[in-house]
Amino acid sequence: MKAGILIGGLVVVGALVAVLYSGFGHDPRAIKSPLIHRTAPDFSLERVDGKGTLSLAQLEGKPAVINFWATWCDPCKEELPVLLQAARGAKGVQFVGIVYEDDPANIENALARHGGAAYPTLIDKGGHAAIAYGVAGVPETFFLDRTGHIVAKFPGPLEPDELQGYLAEIRGSGS
């Protein structure tokens, strides 16, 4: 009887420890997107540079990087030069910035500090696109293959090597 209670207790405690251990080193806010492997939600948003609107359908046939960001977000400001530099060097990949809850003047200033826009930057008034993509906080970056399916989502600021890894992935998939 005593051995049974001991074994039962060890099993329960062991299970709890296993659950808690699996949570170590895991950001509770980093929720896996249910949109992975699904068609990316469509959007049609105004460009910050005043050159009309841009929709997802216009990116058809190209792998794409969609970055949600804002100028009031410090990690976004750290990430911005990484994305701009990658976009200037990347061939065959369309970068798109979607700015969330921000002012066009602030966006222009932020881009100017890094040598100007290297890709279209759109304003998401009301956050419709951010909600459609399940954005819980900026920055968040979505990687789309050439068929318009979401291959990966990265929450937080991207490092250059991480970005290059995702670019290689979307160039190779969906063909």
Partner: protein, 250 residues
């Protein structure tokens, strides 16, 4: 909106009932016309008749173009915009929905819309908060999401469609209450099962405990002092004080 395997995206937009402003437009047009005629008659009584014949239709047209169509088109545009935004996702979110992501209910407005928005918003978790719904949170993200709920309900989407839309984008995490099917249903089933299990353990433990003393009472007293002469002498003294006869052989 639908997307085929080749990534071609097509959009289906349904004009919502918010386009039907014919009665309201007619009423406002009549009021505008009356206001113009009365003013003109007072200021230019001699030229009023001939001038009104020429200018009245122009004036009415200008009023219609400037005042009424923007309001109607703004509402229709908002309705179409939200349908455009959510229909593609909803078409994928609920395969049993035969409406291809288009609104399945009646558009709401006024107090009914306010009430339903509050009710549905309380079921959607704020993704940037700790344990509060978008109805309770003052964060701008929650406010945007609540506005999205309101626009969807105003466009005619049902409560189920609204929740499905958010679940499609954010996953089951976004529900304030976990679903009662699939793996998340464990959170509903496990507590009563564990409670039952705990109750069974307590019942068995109590039953065993009640049996054990009874067995101890009926068992003969062990001759603990039989092998210990020193203890036996003390035991004999205690028993003598208690008026108990010493066991044989001690």
């Amino acid at each position: 909106m639908r997307a085929d395997g080749a990534g071609h995206v097509s959009i289906r937009v349904q004009a919502g009932p918010s386009l039907n402003f014919s009665d309201e437009r007619r009423r406002r047009t009549n009021w505008a016309c009356l206001a113009w005629r009365s003013t003109a008659a007072v200021r230019h009584p001699d030229t009023y008749v001939s001038g009104s014949k020429i200018l009245a239709p122009v004036f009415v047209l200008i009023l219609l173009a400037l005042a009424l169509p923007p309001r109607a088109s703004a509402r229709a545009s908002a309705s179409q915009s939200i349908i455009h935004t959510v229909s593609g996702a909803l078409a994928h979110a609920d395969p049993e929905d035969q409406r291809d992501g288009l609104p399945a209910g009646q558009p709401l407005s006024g107090a009914a819309l306010d009430q339903k928005t509050t009710q549905v918003a309380s079921q959607v978790r704020c993704p940037v908060c700790q344990g509060s719904s978008i109805g309770d949170s003052p964060s701008s993200t929650a406010q945007d999401m609540k506005r999205e709920v309101r626009q969807m309900l105003a466009a005619g989407y049902t409560e189920r469609q609204v929740i499905s839309y958010f679940v499609y984008s954010y996953g089951d995490f976004i529900r304030e209450k976990p679903p009662e099917h699939g793996f998340p249903a464990v959170v509903w089933i496990a507590p009563p099962l564990l409670l039952l299990l705990g109750a069974l353990v307590v019942v068995f433990w109590l039953r065993n405990k009640s049996r054990a003393p009874a067995a101890e009472e009926t068992a003969p007293a062990p001759a603990v002092a039989a092998d210990d002469p020193e203890l036996a002498s003390w035991l004999a003294k205690v028993r003598a004080l208690d008026g108990e006869k010493p066991p044989k052989g001690s």
